[in-house]
């Protein structure tokens, strides 16, 4: 009798855990179903290649797509070299001392700083102190700093997968430390770093709070022509279309279309990263 009670409890307990999992899966399915089913109708060639017209009630989202792309370029230019440099230091040079622990603690804390605080920092440093104004440059730099922790962590992961023997082989042949890193470590870890970079950029492309005050614009008729111009961005456009527009009900299909384009873009970037990782694994360079 007692054994039966325990078995019943086990059955109910596992049922409860299964329900938790199904609930999470349901949330994800509902999110995608809603956006895809209601956003699909808005997508057309015109939607992707035309600017908004008639007080943003018609037309497309082309300038927002381009703006997001431009900002991502600046983000990459800032965060990739800095992230790789820091990762090289941590994995190749750093000794286990107080300074190294401080750097690691800082990285973990930077990744926990709220995005709106990065926005404030961007306003104070890039927009005001550096006189970039509200621009692609200021927004890109802000997002670059925000994605830095992610770039560092994934670059370090990539460096860790290169076997010790590669370094030792070069050193044994008389190469200096830097020569060993340059010829025997970096070539094998660059594709892995690339994966991390793409993931970081996909995060940055979806961020809204850091660009609210550093350069995103409500509406611009033209494509930005310099890094000091303001820009339209997909996530900001979705925010505008769902809360700030004068006729929110009318532009709801545009909002759904923008949301769909945004998540498809992010999904594609993730897919590319996953494919690169998969091909590396097949080639046997990345273990695990």
């Amino acid at each position: 009798m007692k054994i039966k009670a325990a078995t019943l409890k086990e059955f109910l307990g596992f049922l409860l855990l299964r329900l938790c999992m199904l609930c999470v899966a349901l949330i994800i399915v509902v999110i995608f179903y809603d956006i895809i089913s209601k956003g699909w109708g808005s997508i057309s060639w015109e939607f992707l290649t035309q600017p908004p017209v008639d007080g943003m009630t018609k037309g497309g989202i082309f300038p927002a797509i381009v703006g997001t792309f431009f900002v991502a370029v600046i983000t990459a230019v800032l965060s990739v070299p800095l992230g790789m440099g820091c990762a090289i230091y941590l994995n190749e040079y750093a000794k286990d001392n107080v300074l190294t622990r401080f750097i690691r603690l800082s990285i973990r804390n930077l990744s926990g700083v709220p995005s709106i605080v990065y926005g404030l920092f961007g306003v104070a440093l890039f927009v005001e102190a550096c006189h970039f104004g509200t621009s692609i440059l200021a927004a890109g730099c802000t997002l670059g700093l925000m994605t830095l922790p992610l770039t560092i962590t994934s670059s370090e992961e990539a460096l860790k997968t290169v076997p010790r023997a590669y370094r030792e082989g070069a050193l044994a042949l008389g190469a200096t430390k830097w020569q060993a890193i340059r010829s025997n470590v970096l070539p094998y870890s660059v594709p892995g770093m690339l994966t991390g970079t793409i993931l970081g950029l996909s995060r940055a492309a979806g961020e809204t709070a850091p660009i609210l005050f550093t350069g995103a614009a409500f509406f611009l008729p033209d494509i930005p022509n310099s890094i000091f111009s303001q820009f339209m961005a997909l996530p900001y456009h979705l925010y505008i279309m769902s809360t700030q527009h004068h006729n929110i009900a009318l532009v709801r299909p545009i909002a759904y279309g923008t949301a769909l384009v945004l998540i498809v873009l992010i999904f594609l970037m993730n897919l590319v990263a996953i494919i690169i990782r998969y091909r590396l694994r097949k080639r046997g360079i990345v273990h695990g």
Binding site: C20, Y89, I116, A124, Y239
Partner: protein
């Protein structure tokens, strides 16, 4: 020649060292810039009023008041609400994936959770407006679906991926011998999960929940879009609230730069920075206790 080569090597090492130190400088720089832009606010408003005044009304005609309390309480309210939903759901899902699910189910659910982590907060906020809001109105008869409850639900969704993946890692790192010893002593799988594995992974799970909390309290777009943003002191989960993050997001766009109001928004940002910093450091300590316990 060797001298030159050694010098070059040293320079390269210093270059990368500088690169590493830069991270500390950025974190310090954020703190200092926030502090520098926050301090002038207290030339006109006393720190005491900032902390204890129950009203935030920068646009008042006669005397603007800057009370932190209403937005601090709002932020804590939506965060606690989110954790009440996300912690049981997250730990349950993690336990299911690590101890119950067949490998094929896990292969499907794990990427799904990663995809959820990649959904931008603005998209989640949008769904709060078009899906969760009307649903709440329908269910509770509240006048406005954009309220604290809505924000809590959305923040739970945002915090779930962090809690699930890190809790699952913690459960997976419990040595197999613990599980085998428990099963050998006659405990069934459920008793093993609840009384052996979860307690053994407790500090890792706690760290996961704290990181989820840090994410929730700093989340901006979802609460900005879904909580209604009324500046009054929050009194119910079915009423609108205005969190610290949404206050900054709304008012920094309207404020004249270098006024008391502008500096005040940096003061709010500084408080937010300090709160998340403390949460991160504590979860870091808890987590290291966890990894040390494993050795």
């Amino acid at each position: 020649m060797t001298m030159k080569r050694q010098l070059k090597e040293k320079l390269i090492e210093w270059f990368f060292l500088l690169n590493g130190i830069l991270v500390i400088l950025i974190l310090g720089g954020i703190f200092i810039l926030l502090l520098k832009n926050a301090l002038p606010a207290f030339r006109e408003v006393s720190l005491k009023d900032f902390v204890i005044s129950p009203i935030w009304n920068p646009d008042a005609y006669d005397k603007p008041t800057y009370g932190l309390l209403p937005m601090l309480v709002s932020s804590l309210m939506v965060t606690v609400g989110a954790l009440i939903v996300a912690i049981p759901l997250g730990i349950g899902t993690a336990a299911y994936m690590s101890d119950v699910a067949r490998p094929r189910v896990r292969e499907i659910v794990k990427p799904l959770v990663e995809i959820l982590a990649g959904i931008p907060s603005v998209v989640v906020g949008f769904l709060g407006i078009v899906l969760v809001g009307p649903f709440i109105t329908h269910l509770t008869g509240a006048r406005n679906g954009l309220n604290a409850l809505n924000g809590s639900i959305l923040l739970a969704v945002m915090a779930l991926p962090t809690i699930i993946s890190l809790s699952e890692d913690a459960l997976a790192s419990v040595p197999r011998a613990y599980e085998e010893a428990s099963l050998a002593l006659g405990a069934n799988k459920w008793q093993t999960v609840v009384r052996v594995k979860i307690p053994a992974a407790a500090s890792g799970i706690l760290a996961a929940c704290m990181l989820g909390m840090g994410r929730a309290i700093g989340e901006t777009m979802t609460v900005l879009m879904a909580t209604g943003n009324a500046a009054a002191f929050p009194n119910s989960f079915l009423g609108p609230v205005k969190t610290m993050t949404s206050t900054i997001a709304i008012e920094l766009g309207e404020v004249a730069y270098y006024t008391t109001h502008f500096y005040m928004l940096f003061a709010v940002g500084l408080i937010l920075f300090i709160i998340t910093f403390i949460i991160n450091v504590i979860s870091d300590i808890v987590f290291h206790k966890h990894t040390r316990a494993q050795l």
